[in-house]
Subunit: 348 residues, 2 copies
């Protein structure tokens, strides 16, 4: 539907802003000044702490137009930030959108981006409060900042794990990686990535999870509110990295149970067919699930969280140890935790 | 001082983050969780509104390494955001830094960037609370979010101007544009841009203003606190655009006095020598000064602000009118306000 000249470069910054503002739902009364002034102004919940996070998606690094629609990218740009707020035990409230657009980008792409972003904003009750649009001579960038709140003493930091705490993870692992891998493998074949999906429903679920990683906003907020967890992080850089971060910050080790890692069925089949070790696949998984630790005396609180967060599966995958080692139990043996994901060395 | 392999791509994300964190000064007690967790956590001042803004600098669009040092770019990335908070009458508190680095960028560049950023952070009492670093396959991007606070009913919005209010501007106009113009003209000549400056001190001041636009944080906060101003914006998109924005938001017109526009002496001489009309030069000036309107009955409050903000010159440049026209008085005649700056059509 690209019409000639209907691109960001010709439309100009004010026109694009107008186009975006025209689509925003009514803002809550707490937003004193919305988009259009020098800055947004907001009344934070009384007596709360403020949770602040920023995360960017760069075209060619974090997304590929062959694999994701503009709406997928808009959804994911907000999701990765909502996930960070959830991992602190906070509730997200506001978002700022900083958009860097190549001049030739079609306005339809900006519309699609906003479609996806506003779907998740409505689900997660996040208000788009402001932002910035500028031209770039490079790849498109969607950088978002999300502001949330949490109650004092109900934060989920990464440094609170204690030896003996159990380690849990939400959802299923490896789905996102398997979905991306399928999309990569389908390039140049008969099924173009962003349209038809794989025939196998389990693998199709993996592709969907790669494109739109629903953040665990509710579980994170519940874990913070009832203080079930002693530490929490999201899996944005992979399970192995998450375990490593919690252990390093808490001054502990960790022992995972290789057979307990909840690999997504689609991912299990996909990686098995490719000869990829299941533990390696799980360790590298970056599904925007939450990894958290629970002291044994607080397992009752965890059960309450699981009851309230209907439908979200929570799996015990190991425990926090006193020494600094990071290991995975496999049958009778143990192996080192594989190394994690690094943004500067990995690609899409 | 670039040593082989000493670049962002080889160092990796964690190493760059460590390098940055090692240079941060001690954080105030209000920062509950600083950089290193999923999100930053902060205790906002009690009973305050929160002011939130985001602005990005893109290499090749907003800065050029031939004209600005890494420290200049770091300074400016924070300055443009502090300016937005000042234009709301707020005080800045926290910053989030989102950095997109091409793999080949030297680590020295990142260090320099932080040097400049931390100079202004110390001056403006802003704490770097968190952020994100990622790789890009395109130009370097420094995207910052600044969070500030303001008292309820003491905000400076852009929509509060009333016919009869006087229009003021801080500082001198056109310095930044003249400085950039000089730098452009010096490319390929004997004086490379980022080292020697122009011999003329007034023009050298323009180059300095282009490279490090000191935001009007104190004046903005004072104007908000004592409620002297009825509307305020910064000149980030030029004087003409600022006047247009205030008039449009307030449903008014504006009549500027062409002879009152405080063109910087260096800019006046530079543009006169090039045959550029002084009013055109002033109208296009994007010096991160503040433009604000003051009801006549509040001129006493404005005098108090000027007394407290020692050294900042404030100049009356016109008044708000009831009709929708935007004009400049020149001698006996009037002319239309020139059109403003647009990010999608202008370059560095």
């Amino acid at each position: 539907m690209k019409s000639p000249g209907n691109d960001a470069g010709r439309a100009g910054e004010h026109a694009i802003i107008g186009r975006i503002l025209g689509r925003l739902p009514a803002a809550p009364a707490s937003l004193v000044v919305g988009p259009g002034d020098d800055a947004a102004v907001w009344t934070p919940p009384r007596g709360s702490l403020q949770v602040l996070t920023t995360d960017a998606l760069v075209e060619g690094v974090h997304f590929d137009w062959r694999f994701s629609s503009p709406a997928d990218v808009g959804y994911k740009a907000l999701a990765v930030n909502v996930s960070d707020v959830a991992a602190m035990g906070g509730a997200p409230h506001l978002a700022l959108l900083s958009l860097m657009l190549p001049p030739e980008i079609p306005l339809d792409t900006v519309d699609g981006l906003m479609d996806g972003l506003l779907v998740l904003a409505a689900e997660a009750r996040v208000t788009l409060a402001g932002g910035n649009i500028t031209r770039t001579c490079g790849p498109m960038v969607i950088d978002m900042t999300v502001v949330g709140s949490a109650r004092p003493r109900k934060l989920l930091r990464r440094d609170g794990a204690q030896p003996g705490d159990f380690i849990y993870v939400t959802g299923a692992l490896g789905a996102s990686a398997a979905g991306l891998d399928w999309l990569r493998s389908s390039v140049g074949t008969s099924h173009p990535g962003t349209e038809a999906g794989p025939g196998d429903p389990a693998l199709a679920a993996c592709v969907a999870r790669y494109r739109r990683p629903g953040p665990r906003a509710r579980v994170g907020a519940l874990l913070g509110r009832n203080r079930a967890a002693s530490a929490c992080v999201d899996l944005s850089d992979g399970l192995a990295d998450a375990v490593r971060q919690v252990a390093a910050a808490s001054g502990t080790g960790a022992l995972l149970d290789g057979s307990a890692l909840p690999l997504h069925p689609g991912a299990r089949a996909w990686f098995a067919a490719k000869g990829v070790d299941a533990v390696e696949a799980a360790a590298a998984s970056d599904d925007y699930e939450l990894l958290f630790t629970v002291p044994r005396r607080r397992l009752g609180r965890l059960r309450a969280v699981v009851r309230e967060a209907r439908g979200v599966v929570v799996t015990r995958i190991g425990e926090v140890t006193a020494d600094g080692s990071l290991e995975i139990r496999e049958g009778e043996g143990r192996r080192q935790l594989p190394s994690g994901y690094a943004h500067f060395t990995n690609t899409i």
